[in-house]
Amino acid sequence: GESVGLHLPTLSVQEGDNSIINCAYSNSASDYFIWYKQESGKGPQFIIDIRSNMDKRQGQRVTVLLNKTVKHLSLQIAATQPGDSAVYFCAGDGNDMRFGAGTRLTVKP
């Protein structure tokens, strides 16, 4: 079955720095991945997605990188802002999207 997990439970960065959040998956047949952001007291919110036929996808201040060889994906946030403080989950397809454990990002002013 699908197993999606994160390397680090917490990440603290200085405002203005770049953030990198990592995620590993175990199902080599996974075709589609999503990064979600969950702020305190709210439901997860879609940030960016990527399909397995791509190795990089960019959004506004965010980039997702996919390395299918080592079954790893990462979320890069450029110029991290206080509003980026949240828990970030990766999710991979299978029968349905499965969530990884989550990384709590804290942005220090």
Partner: protein, 112 residues
């Protein structure tokens, strides 16, 4: 705006007293999901409906049931809540399975 709505946002129930949480959507999505999320953990999928087809996760306790009377509404019934069932319950929808999910704000359940 199209959205996923959960009511109530906060629910307090007594140990063993049945409780129902509700979710509605205006997205006209085929799939509706219920997740349980405990503090500092990832959302855990309990079950989902694809249209009227119910799909239960293997490790979801029998204490948790769900109903989807129509496309727009889905209910989570907890027949006999225990203290361990205190959590945030998230409803989500997607147009098709394995696609981006749109989440509601959640219902925080307290069991006294």
């Amino acid at each position: 705006d199209a959205m996923v709505i959960q009511n109530p946002r906060y629910q307090v129930t007594q140990f063993g007293k049945p409780v129902t949480l509700s979710c509605s959507q205006t997205l006209n999505h085929n799939v509706m999901y219920w997740y349980q999320q405990k503090s500092s953990q990832a959302p855990k999928l309990l079950f989902h409906y694809y249209d009227k087809d119910f799909n239960n996760e293997a490790d979801t306790p029998d204490n948790f049931q769900s109903r989807r009377p129509n496309t727009s509404f889905c209910f989570l019934d907890i027949r006999s809540p225990g203290l361990g069932d205190a959590a945030m319950y998230l409803c989500a929808t997607s147009l098709y399975s394995g696609e981006e999910q749109y989440f509601g704000p959640g219902t925080r359940l307290t069991v006294t």
